[in-house]
Symmetry: C2
Subunit: 213 residues, 2 copies
């Protein structure tokens, strides 16, 4: 049964990106350190086309199923790029170069229509102006029997949680403080039902899997 | 070697008390649910003078050493009571009745001087106007070879962390959302050094021990 999932990294103070996001600092100031636990994992290398490199172990076991079963991605516009307001042209095609690491259709939430963009390696960007429910529905149809990943940022994930669209999230907690930025667990109503489904201690980070009721 | 420690419960969104704290709701709206994991533990019953009652197990093993080695407590004024500004009289003696569960000297941070108060069962309240460093020094001297616990609230703990006074904190994470209140990990500079020292999965909560560098 395909799922709608997310895999994010947060600091001890709960931030999934540092303060002052910009084209120079797509993850905000200090935000890069949130992802260091993943950079040398075998599955992370494979996602970037470098097969046979990197380390295996418990953190790789956490990341691998998410990547292996990736059928489509939904993300907010700020995760796609630094441009705000109407698209000035078709120049900006994401942070990830000509061959992005998704290798599947990516649905970008935006208030401003834009034609789809085909990239190399199976990635395509589709711009959805009708909101999170429409984006997740399109992603599910594209993913078939694979999973849909909600990529971020925080506001996109919060909308998915409140709308009951997210089945499961792996929150990788990294023992650093960012002091500011965007929190995942914010603006969520106290009535939200959530269950801690799994705890895995990696060498550099703690992986906590939550399911929503 | 005696330590300065803290043991707190937080929601998934990081709050150690709910919104709108008041005399009716000392832990804020919904905040009581943060502590349910502890209410039926043997060590919690013992702290309240009910020996031989309650459950043992991993959560009891987490709580017990903190209580067994308790030599003195430091807390902020809002944890002591709902009164703000100068003390109108000596009537308010904490939330806990004539025999509070501390059984040791308690140092209360306040801007308003007040004479110490002796309670039953070994608890006494001392009012410190010179700040967290003075309060922790007095508590350490009173505790001798026992530990000092910093009780809360969030702002008191943040001051202790920033001043380098807190050796260790056990953060018990409860899978509920409070949607507002006071966060432990807030207002802390990104330069704060912290290490995840232990992970214990209890039946109702996850116990995470952090050490500060």
């Amino acid at each position: 049964m395909p799922k709608t999932k997310a895999q994010i990294s947060v600091s001890l103070d709960g931030y999934m990106a540092g303060p002052n996001q910009s084209e120079k600092d797509p993850l905000g100031e200090g935000g890069e350190a949130l992802h260091e636990w993943a950079f040398n994992l075998a599955s992370f290398h494979e996602m970037h086309g470098r097969h046979g490199e990197g380390e295996r172990g418990v953190s790789d076991d956490v990341l691998r199923p998410t990547l292996d079963r990736l059928g489509a991605v939904v993300m907010g516009r700020n995760m796609f790029g630094p441009i705000r307001g109407p698209w000035p042209d078709d120049e900006w095609k994401g942070w990830w170069g000509q061959d992005p690491p998704f290798h599947c259709p990516v649905y970008v939430l935006t208030h401003h229509p834009r034609d789809p963009v085909e990239m190399d390696g199976g990635t395509s960007f589709h711009f959805v102006t009708e909101g999170i429910e429409t984006a997740v529905a399109a992603a599910k149809e594209a993913a078939g029997d694979q999973d849909v990943a909600i990529g971020g940022g925080a506001f996109t994930l919060q909308q998915a949680i409140v709308a009951g669209l997210l089945d499961e999230i792996v929150v990788t907690q990294v023992p650093i403080l960012l002091g500011g930025g965007e929190r995942l667990f914010d603006r969520l109503p106290a009535s939200t039902k959530v269950e801690l489904a799994a705890v895995v201690e990696g060498p550099d980070a703690l992986h906590l899997t939550y399911r929503f009721g």
